[in-house]
């Protein structure tokens, strides 16, 4: 098969890793990679034109997120936005950083690096609010202050949704004056982002998860919230993030976000039904498979996370890959090796299930044919691995 044929028959179930770019975004960015290449910080008319499209994009993003344009900071991605929030808060205000044990490493490693506190999650993978309150009170009791609390809106591995309003209440009551940050990278396609922005102080987004380009992120930094900038230089983004403005990236990000939000209601329903059929198709044909997040928890439609006893993720992914089904297990490290998931460990998933973790993530290009393919291939692969399991 030629590479094009392979691509045409690929069933892509790795939207949570990255989503295909939306047409609107590609079209929107094209002129700024080509003839409209000006640096918006310049003082000539060519620059002013570029400045205008960036300002318009910022207005557009602010409108979608329910904040003011001045609160939108464009970054190089979700990871930078997370780092800027955690390091920025602690460096500016001093004090302890707090996050949940299921955070993305872009938050977790920063908090650990700063010697902060990590709070347990429940069986859903959502921060335990009682423990959060206890942690915040203990910090106060030790005559310290909480600099920042970071809680993800949607978990990137298992897809569970955190009730951010409840988190905000707990934080405002137990650590008034601290900064509440949310990594909302996996929320963008599925949740009303205004609800998240409304109750928090700083929020991170990543463009390529919602059909924008890689290398683009958004940090919402509410008015009155100060953070030490992570990157200094020419003072772009109102001194909050220096570096030459990525005009094409910003324009495409705004276009992708707008398209995502426009289609969100219908897509959420459509993808939820695809996911249901995917999960049922697999679990009805195989024994010893669990949906990793119990059905009593809220999960976004885009992530189906299963744990399959008696198989190893690496072996399963190899067979799926051979059959042109793109999926994932958990986070991969720099070498590309699968790492045991800190999220599943934090959730207390039994090791015999956690070893067979499989994340199938869906998005705006997923079709029923993809789902049917995935069901067939996953079931056949698991059966094969179980039949040949070494004794």
């Amino acid at each position: 098969m030629s590479e094009d044929q392979v691509r045409a028959t690929l069933a892509y179930f790795d939207h949570a890793a990255t989503a295909p770019m939306r047409r609107e975004a590609i079209e929107a960015m094209r002129p700024y990679l080509d003839e409209q290449f000006a640096n918006p910080s310049g003082s000539h008319r060519f620059s002013r034109a570029a400045r205008q499209v960036v300002d318009e994009a910022r207005d557009d993003v602010a409108d979608v997120l329910g904040c003011t344009p001045g609160e939108v900071v464009f970054t190089s991605g979700g990871t930078e936005a997370d780092n800027a929030a955690v390091f920025g808060a602690v460096r500016r205000h001093g004090g302890v950083a707090v996050c949940s044990a299921a955070e993305h490493h872009a938050v977790l490693h920063c908090v650990e690096h700063l010697g902060g506190e990590v709070v347990d999650v429940d069986r859903c993978g959502v921060i335990d609010l009682d423990k959060l309150r206890a942690t915040l009170s203990a910090i106060t009791a030790h005559n310290e202050r909480t600099a920042l609390v970071s809680v993800m809106a949607v978990n990137n591995e298992v897809g569970s949704v955190t009730p951010m309003r409840d988190v905000a209440r707990a934080v405002r009551a137990s650590a008034p004056g601290s900064i509440l940050h949310s990594d909302a990278v996996q929320a963008a396609c599925w949740l009303d982002l205004r609800d998240i922005v409304l109750v928090t102080d700083v929020v991170s987004f990543s463009a390529h998860k919602f059909g924008g380009p890689k290398g683009m992120g958004i940090m919402v930094q509410k008015a009155g919230i100060t953070l030490e900038p992570l990157i200094m230089g020419g003072g772009q983004e109102r001194d909050r993030r220096s570096g030459t403005t990525n005009v094409a990236g910003i324009v495409a990000t705004a276009a992708a976000l707008r398209a995502t939000v426009t289609h969100r209601a219908t897509e959420t329903t459509r993808v939820a039904s695809l996911k249901k059929s995917l999960v049922q198709g697999i679990t009805s044909q195989l024994t010893d498979v669990i949906e990793t997040v119990p059905s009593s928890c809220t999960v976004v439609p885009g992530i189906a996370h299963l744990c399959i006893a008696g198989v190893e993720s690496e072996a399963l992914l190899f067979l799926l890959d051979e059959a042109n089904v793109c999926a994932s297990a958990a986070s991969a490290c720099a070498s590309g090796a699968m790492e045991p998931s800190h999220v599943l460990r934090a959730m207390g998933v039994e090791p015999r299930f956690a070893k067979g973790a499989l994340r199938l993530s869906l998005g705006h290009t997923t079709t029923q044919e993809d789902v049917d393919r995935a069901i067939e291939v996953v079931v056949a692969s698991v059966q094969r691995l179980r039949a040949h399991r070494p004794q």
């Binding site: 690496e314 072996a315 190899f318 720099a334 070498s335 590309g336 090796a337 040949h388 070494p390």
Partner: protein, 355 residues
């Protein structure tokens, strides 16, 4: 055939993959992630994975990474630390071959439908007219690695390929260069991959076990000095004992971790005729008692003629054997692998661990 080739990121396994590809096999490369901790020896590092992946891309084969770090820790690192704790001298590279490359990896390969596993070892696998599979020494005698793959049994031998075993190291590098592989001039790995060059064995073990001071005695029991870490002393060792100068060269004859003593004496006192070996593995059947075999007790040491005196069979590496050397040789430190070759010093018959 569909072959899974273990690619460490070195030149030998790069060329092994290239040879298989040239022979028309369906080849997939895999790099095993084994050591998760600190290392500066280059092995197991992300840059090695990068090298392996880039070579695979150049050869137009798929490349995977398998994370076996948990198994590596359990089967190689933990026993290594434990052996030192008990004052023996382990060979972790052999345990890695035994438990990871030719067990965990080949199991995974079978599960995924591969017909064979290949590595870049300098050794050959031959099928005798009788149908029995044997490991034979590699074509490059200076680089021969049959010693470290001696544990392969009939099942694994029938499933394993050593595509560079018939080449010299120089030929391997030449082929890599012809193909423009980025690993062509990469130096050979020399050290234990999980031990850093800067910290060494002492730092690695020091973080994991408490070192005990030991008295250094002569054979009559007179105290000559002391060492800070009896766990780091090996039989046959001469340096690092901090003995007063001027006296004749003294070699370690005995190490007793429990009593905290190291006995030293003349080199002649290390000479032994008998080697007792546990954890025995035979490539096929043990040779008949009384047969002459060649015995090798270190990775690149010479082999010496000996007679197989006793064989106690036991299930999966629980057996033992005794060989008697024709001429006494320096004592083999407990924990070292002892490998038996046929009388021509070419085919591996089996081996085990000196007790």
């Amino acid at each position: 055939m569909k072959v899974l080739v273990a690619m460490s990121g070195g030149v030998d396994s790069s060329v092994a993959a290239a040879e298989l590809r040239r022979e028309g096999h369906e080849v997939v490369g895999v790099t095993m992630r084994l050591w998760g901790g600190e290392s500066d020896t280059g092995c197991c590092s992300v840059s090695d994975v990068d090298d392996a992946r880039r070579v695979a891309q150049q050869l137009r084969i798929d490349h995977l990474v398998f994370n076996f770090s948990e198994e590596f820790n359990d089967a190689v690192v933990a026993p290594y630390v434990d052996a030192h704790r008990h004052g023996t001298t382990p060979n972790p590279c052999i345990e890695c071959n035994r438990h990871l490359k030719f067990d965990r990896l080949s199991q995974r390969a079978r599960l995924l439908g591969f017909d064979a596993v290949a590595t870049g070892h300098h050794a050959r696998i031959e099928r005798q007219p009788s149908g029995v599979w044997r490991v034979a020494r590699g074509a490059d005698t200076a680089k021969d690695q049959s010693y470290v793959v001696h544990m392969l049994d009939q099942r694994e031998l029938a499933y394993t390929l050593f595509p560079v075993g018939h080449l010299t190291k120089a030929q391997v590098r030449e082929r890599a260069e012809e193909l423009g592989l980025r690993t062509a001039a990469k130096p050979d790995s020399q050290d234990v991959c999980f031990i850093s060059k800067t910290g060494g064995r002492e730092t690695f073990l020091g973080h994991r076990i408490p070192f005990r001071r030991a008295r250094v005695l002569d054979e009559s029991g007179n105290e000559l000095g002391a060492v800070d870490a009896v766990e780091l002393v090996t039989i046959g060792q001469r340096r690092g004992l901090r003995l007063p100068g001027g006296s004749p060269k003294q070699f370690v004859l005995e190490v007793d971790v429990e009593r905290g003593t190291v006995v030293v004496g003349d080199e002649a006192r290390l000479a032994r005729e008998e080697i007792r070996v546990g954890a025995a593995m035979w490539s096929h059947e043990p040779p008949p008692l009384g047969s002459t075999v060649m015995v090798q007790t270190s990775a690149h040491g010479a082999a010496h003629a000996a007679v197989l005196e006793e064989v106690v069979s036991g299930a999966s590496s629980h057996g033992s054997f005794i060989v008697r050397l024709r001429e006494p040789q320096r004592r083999t430190a407990p924990g070292q692998s002892v490998v038996l070759y046929d009388i021509d010093n070419r085919l591996v018959l089996g081996g085990g661990i000196a007790s």
